[in-house]
């Protein structure tokens, strides 16, 4: 919750700072909103304790095992 709030505040402050420039450029505005939405969604996913670490664990089980086999030889 704490991290989500801080992120929203940071994004909002930055938006207020560059709003005039963003209003001029439609494509930039779209990208800004997309990245901000992704950021907030990821923060919500973390807040709900989604197991995002499975991605890294997958790499650890596959590529990590290859290295371990090389070391064992």
């Amino acid at each position: 919750m704490q991290i989500l709030l801080i992120l929203i505040i940071c994004l909002l402050i930055y938006f207020l700072k560059i709003r005039k420039l963003l209003l001029k450029d439609k494509q930039e505005r779209r990208w800004y909103l997309l990245l901000s939405a992704l950021c907030i969604m990821l923060a919500i996913a973390l807040m709900l304790e989604f197991p995002l670490y499975v991605v890294t664990s997958f790499f650890n089980y596959t590529l990590g095992e290859i290295t371990k086999q090389v070391i064992k030889i």
């Binding site: 940071c10 930039e28 995002l52 890294t56 290295t67």
Partner: protein, 369 residues
């Protein structure tokens, strides 16, 4: 928009800092665990391999002159798109790995009561501030901090003179030493070959004819500093302690015992190291933003802030500190090596393609005359 430029000396410092500052966190532990008292040979062996690899990319730098517009928003071939994708992925993985290692270090050693998310967020705000200024400022900041940390590392043998025990280096060699050195090299090589970040940095270098020299001096500086640290790890701490410690270099600098009143000199050295790490990660953030801009065909820094904030959440991609260390020690060598080979291969194709085109054009021109 004016093209930013960096000098060969700045490139040297950027490369040296890039390969040195991330490795010293915890990599010496796994190296010493595998190749024991012979680990210093691994550094020399990997140095030869890395410089050869680097020379392969940077030889005949005049050919790279034509590739200077590589990251500009112009028409892109499919090979360029593949190259950008692999390079972005590679830099992203380095960013995730180093950012996690850095925040874990601060969380574990310096600020144990502060939540790791807050450390990550505050670090990200600092990184945004540095990255928004551009490559020229990042280079200048890196030069100052890399020189400072180099002086500190070079002075370490003198500060630890009363603790060095050369007998820790014995027995030299051994029955399985060759295999152990090769295994350590397998782990160490992808870390040091991060010097191939030059495929991104060369576009800013002026004059480009100094690319090879600047890069190799940078790599040599990084290796020399790491050699000092590994040598001291073995001679001061010994193989047993180094292979057990999560942060062996912190243990090392805690051994400095000059006078009775300078008992926390390690904190001073950590404060010198932290900005060098920030320089490395800010360079990565700058590169990622630049590649992101190339993809979306826009040349602006508006989206650096949301991108950096998004990346700050990647610390949660690791369940805990042990997961992060396992990723660095075992997953990264294989993953890094694969990506590095692909990047070098694609870059050489791009380089060759461009130079062939130039040759054809000049032949055509000669024919007309």
């Amino acid at each position: 928009m004016k093209q930013e430029q960096i000098s060969p000396f700045q490139l040297t410092c950027l490369i040296g800092n890039f390969i040195f500052t991330g490795v010293l966190i915890s990599v010496p532990q796994i190296l010493v665990e595998i190749s024991k008292q012979n680990t210093w040979i691994v550094i020399l062996f990997t140095y030869i391999l890395t410089t050869t690899f680097f020379y392969l990319i940077c030889r005949k730098p005049e050919k790279l002159e034509k590739l200077k517009s590589l990251f500009n928003i112009d028409k892109r071939t499919w090979i360029k798109k593949v190259f950008f994708s692999v390079l972005s992925m590679y830099l992203l993985f380095i960013y995730i790995r180093d950012f996690r290692a850095f925040t874990s270090f601060i969380d574990g050693i310096l600020l144990p009561d502060t939540p790791i998310d807050i450390i990550a967020l505050l670090t990200t705000l600092t990184l945004i501030y540095i990255s928004l200024t551009g490559i020229e400022v990042i280079s200048r900041v890196t030069v100052i901090h890399f020189i400072t940390i180099s002086i500190v590392v070079i002075s370490l043998p003198f500060l630890l003179l009363n603790e060095i025990q050369l007998t820790n280096l014995l027995p030299f060699g051994g029955l399985h030493s060759g295999a152990e050195i090769l295994k350590s090299t397998y782990i160490f090589f992808p870390w040091m070959t991060e010097a191939i970040v030059i495929v991104f940095l060369f576009v800013f270098l002026h004059p480009i004819s100094h690319l090879n020299k600047a890069g190799i001096i940078g790599i040599s500086c990084g290796f020399f500093l790491l050699f000092i640290l590994i040598f001291l790890n073995i001679t001061v701490l010994g193989v047993a302690i180094t292979s057990e410690a999560t942060y062996p270099n912190i243990k090392l600098i805690q051994q400095i015992n000059l006078t009775d009143f300078l008992d926390r000199l390690d904190l001073v050295i950590e404060v010198v190291w932290i900005p060098t790490m920030l320089c490395k990660v800010s360079l990565l953030l700058f590169a990622l933003n630049r590649l992101f801009n190339t993809f979306r065909r826009k040349d602006s820094d508006f989206n650096l802030v949301p991108l950096a904030l998004l990346l700050s959440l990647t610390i949660r991609l690791f369940k805990n500190n042990i997961d992060g260390i396992e990723y660095s020690f075992f997953t990264w060598p294989t993953k890094g090596l694969l990506l590095e080979l692909i990047i070098v291969f694609l870059f050489l194709i791009l380089k060759r393609g461009k130079s062939d085109k130039v040759k054809k054009m000049s032949k055509k021109y000669d024919g007309i005359n």
